[in-house]
């Protein structure tokens, strides 16, 4: 089913919307959640929470890019659960590359009162100036939280090349954020 038709079902408050979303984007949601949580059970719960969030937000929201919208919701829901589990000490550190990201900008090095959305826009500006390969490798790693080996396979690069590209992009982003005054 086309995305606009699925969104139409949400607007009609037709519960088939969830089934169609699951059919088309269930794997995407699970993959994002699992990359972050490393637990099938928690990931399944996150996928369900994602659908609930979609159900509650559409309408009034009418996503222009449905898969991107879903991925953002799945990501936020999964990070919330990650933090919850972490606070409860029910979480073992998995593949999530937080340390690599903190190398770019740790919370304590971030300029006070910087909103996530503001930082996101700055990173967006940076990524648009990057070469296509570097940008996509970066987004696969730090947005979708793919492992290095998954990225290498997807792009037909060696793992060491992926690591190298990521390292260089992180370095450029760190410098960019300093220049933008976000990184102190």
């Amino acid at each position: 089913m086309k995305d606009e038709n699925i969104i139409g079902l949400y607007f009609e408050r037709n519960e088939k919307a969830i089934a169609e979303t699951d059919k088309k984007y269930g794997k995407l949601c699970f993959s994002i959640a699992h990359n972050i949580l490393q637990s099938p059970e928690d990931s399944k719960e996150c996928v369900n929470d994602t659908y609930l969030h979609l159900w509650n937000s559409i309408p009034p929201v009418k996503p222009k890019n449905f898969p991107a919208f879903i991925s953002k919701v799945a990501r936020f829901v999964s990070f919330d659960r990650y933090d919850f589990l972490h606070a409860k000490k029910r979480f073992s550190e998995g593949e999530v590359p937080f340390e690599e990201l903190e190398e770019v900008l740790s919370d304590d090095r971030m300029k006070k009162e910087t909103e996530d959305s503001e930082l996101g826009e700055i990173i967006d500006g940076f990524l648009r100036k990057e070469k296509t390969d570097s940008r996509n490798v970066f987004i696969r790693r730090y947005y979708f939280c793919d492992s290095v080996s998954e990225i290498a396979k997807r792009f037909a690069f060696s793992e060491s090349k992926v690591k190298s590209m990521l390292g260089r992009t992180r370095k450029r982003l760190r410098e960019y954020l300093e220049k933008e005054g976000v990184r102190l």
Partner: protein, 222 residues
């Protein structure tokens, strides 16, 4: 560790960037496209038959990286460690280029002891930088221990997903396959493997020029 703000902030990048990263996967060239390309380039086929490979890249970022990897942009420096008979001096075929060489050794090994060598990656880019994805580029991984861990050229060539072909350059047999290009500029993307000097070579090339791969193989092995 709690989710850092930068991780959450990444959720605010543009939808188009997300779908771009979501959609891309290397694919086998469509047969009709291949036929068209072959027809259009018929006069070059004889040259292509004499030609060859293309490669990928290397480097890394883990705590032990500096202990197990020697990275340089200088051919002289890498030749001083690995010797001069590895063909990598033949990768630079134009005056202006960027190069990067990475020698990987086993953990606890020495960069001075060839017995510890695992592999050598050499990347040459004729664009604006070593990572200019739109620049004509050639990558070569030389496996010193016979393994190709993390070098997906090997995996792709054996996957059956891509039509592999063979060619001979000066007595050396080269197995290669065309892949879907990563961008519109470098429309000719080829991966290949061959043996030279007792080592396995994995190469990849990206170029707008359909003859580039063949020329590079001729230059290396001819």
């Amino acid at each position: 560790m709690k989710t850092p703000k930068i991780a959450k902030a990444l959720g605010f990048i543009g939808d188009d960037l997300i779908t771009e990263a979501m959609d891309y996967r290397p694919k086998k060239k469509a047969p009709f496209k291949k036929m068209l390309a072959l027809a259009a380039c018929f006069c070059f086929i004889s040259i292509l038959v004499l030609a060859l490979p293309y490669i990928s890249g290397a480097s890394a970022e883990d705590p032990d990286w500096p202990k197990t990897h020697f990275e340089t942009e200088s051919y002289e420096e890498i030749a001083a460690k690995c010797g001069e008979d590895l063909l990598i001096d033949k990768l630079a075929v134009k005056e202006d280029f960027h190069s990067e060489y990475i020698l990987e050794i086993r953990k606890g090994g020495s960069f001075e002891n060839p017995a510890d060598f695992i592999g050598l990656s050499a990347t040459v880019n004729y664009g604006k930088s070593i990572f200019d994805s739109e620049g004509e580029q050639f990558f070569c991984f030389i496996s010193f221990n016979g393994k190709a861990d993390g070098v997906f050229i090997d995996e792709y060539l054996r996957s059956g997903e891509f039509e592999t072909k063979e060619m001979t350059v000066d007595g050396y047999s080269v197995k290669y396959a065309e892949m879907e290009p990563l961008n519109k500029i470098n429309a000719n993307r080829i991966i290949a493997e061959f043996e030279y000097g007792g080592y396995k070579y994995y190469v990849s090339s990206e170029s707008p020029n359909p003859e580039f791969f063949g020329d590079m193989m001729e230059n290396m092995l001819g």
